[in-house]
Amino acid sequence: MQRVSVAPRSDWQQKARTYGFRFHSMYGQPYWDESAYYRFGLRQVEDGVEAVTAELHRMCLAAVGHVVQSEELLSRFAIPSAFHDAVRASWERGDATLYSRLDLSWDGVGPARLLENNADTPTSLYETGFWQWLWLEDLIAAGALPAHADQFNSLQEQLIERLAQLARMVGATLPLHVSCCRGSEEDRGTVQYLQDCAHQAGVATRFVHIEDLGEGIDGSLTDLDDNVIRWMFKLYPWEFLMRDEAAALLPGCGVRFIEPWWKAVVANKAILAVLWELFPGHPNLLPAWFEADAPSLSRGQWVRKPMYSREGANVVLLREGQVIEDSGGPYGSEGCIVQAWHPLPVHAGRHVLVGSWLVGDQPAGMSIREDVGPITRDLSRFVPHALID
């Protein structure tokens, strides 16, 4: 694992305009950074990330199966009791998943450690599946990288295949409604990317903002044209949906959701505590507990994370009982978990996080984020990678 400086493509911003990549900079800060890339070997990534991801995913599924059997655990996961049946039924039906991203602390040598499972609303999808792919193709074409350079990134190919497969499962003629909240260019860009992939899979899509969803006369969900929604991708967390005013509509509205209901369990950081209970000492896990069950935090280094939080918000780093970093934010009221702190590797003064993607149950690619601080946040830079042996 090397951080290698490289000249940015002279026309990358023009390309970003051509392809509609509008969030390469956010709040005046660069987000996409191609002044460097991370270099790995093929075998290194296949063993260190791909195989580990498949294993962790299997363990996570086992943990979901364990949690949905227990009303007590579902309650500890802060899933409102009105939705326990829907979550359990979704799991028992085997409702299909589209994608997820495991965040790993990995230095390229030792075992990767699972920091969290972004299984419900993962973003940086476009940057990973398309934009860093294009970067690699361009650098190979320009001779800046060798012709045999590669990338662990079949994300777009797999997304298209998976969407075609899901369309067959729900009935090929149903359009896929896609939805996100108003006000985030990044979320809208992510959803647009999924629309692009769906169209290439032969699946028609309709967009509707979450805030515009309607209640149909028959208890269905509707879009702004009064179309009944039957199949829907939502870039909006289950924990919010379940607490919104119209939440009572959800179990009977007849929508097949992507991601499905049971993702409310596996995307919850409480899954880290259950994983540690089910697979204690596993080399790819870090010790983790519900906060109430955690050992004394006055010795050693710990991370406290809300069960529900996004983009590294409300994460607190503790050393010998003292808070040494607190990212702040709006989350935490539903409870927290405590996880052993496994610092991210540092390259050129930046803390490096590996995102490992799955489409369905298949590992599908990798993304790298960098931050000057130890907590990866929404503005942490996205840096491409290449496999060069």
Binding site: Y19, Q151, G171, C180, L213, R243, R310
Partner: protein, 206 residues
């Protein structure tokens, strides 16, 4: 190769803002599909008088009633149904074919859904003029602002001459049809509250 083998770059171009492009698509969709016209019957007597074929009328009515029971509008409360369709025009069903008990409006009439006859046309619906006459239920909600005929999913059936209505192309689609929306804005508030607490614009991906 560990990466996507090929990407259709032309399909990935979005040189105009995506929101604008979608608005154009929506406007185009809203303008298409003018539909067709069809006979509508308010009762068996009405049908017999105009069609002159008692057996066909009874067959159509029975078929429409079955569709109404299977896929018509329904409500958890009788009051809600009567608020929509008028006092005494809803029925309470305690044994709704294995479903939760519920209230449903009575079918107010039916549309003769005439299509070219093919092998799938049941014997009772075959017409001598080479068509297959199916039927779909129609309703007459009385909520303020609504009048005339509507499909079971709330689409209006505008008048198109004596005893005829205009039928949208997808009026009786079973899949992602259209319905009448009672209210909007029930979702998204958690996001805006969290954004206020965080003191900044927020995004909900992770």
């Amino acid at each position: 190769m560990k990466r996507t083998k090929a990407i259709d770059l032309a399909a990935m171009r979005h040189p105009v803002p995506a929101v604008l492009a979608l608005a154009v698509v929506s406007a185009t969709l809203a303008g298409c599909g003018d539909g067709r016209t069809a006979d509508i019957y308010a009762s068996l007597a009405d049908c017999r008088e105009r069609l002159g074929d008692r057996a066909a009328c009874e067959s159509m009515r029975d078929r429409a009633l079955r569709k109404s029971a299977q896929a018509g509008p329904w409500y958890a409360e009788l009051d809600d149904c009567e608020a929509e369709f008028g006092y005494g025009r809803c029925e309470w069903d305690d044994d709704a074919a294995g479903r939760t008990a519920r209230a449903a409006p009575r079918m107010a009439g039916w549309i003769a859904d005439r299509k070219p006859r093919d092998a799938s046309c049941p014997p009772g619906y075959q017409r001598e003029d080479g068509t297959c006459m199916d039927a779909s239920p129609a309703y007459q909600p009385t909520t303020y602002g609504m009048s005339g005929w509507y499909t079971g999913n709330g689409q209006p059936l505008p008048p198109a001459g004596e005893g005829r209505v205009r039928v949208p192309d997808d009026a009786f689609g079973q899949s992602s049809g259209r319905t009448r929306t009672l209210s909007r804005g029930g979702f998204g508030r958690m996001a805006s509250q969290a954004a206020v607490r965080s003191g900044s614009a927020f995004r909900w991906g992770s």
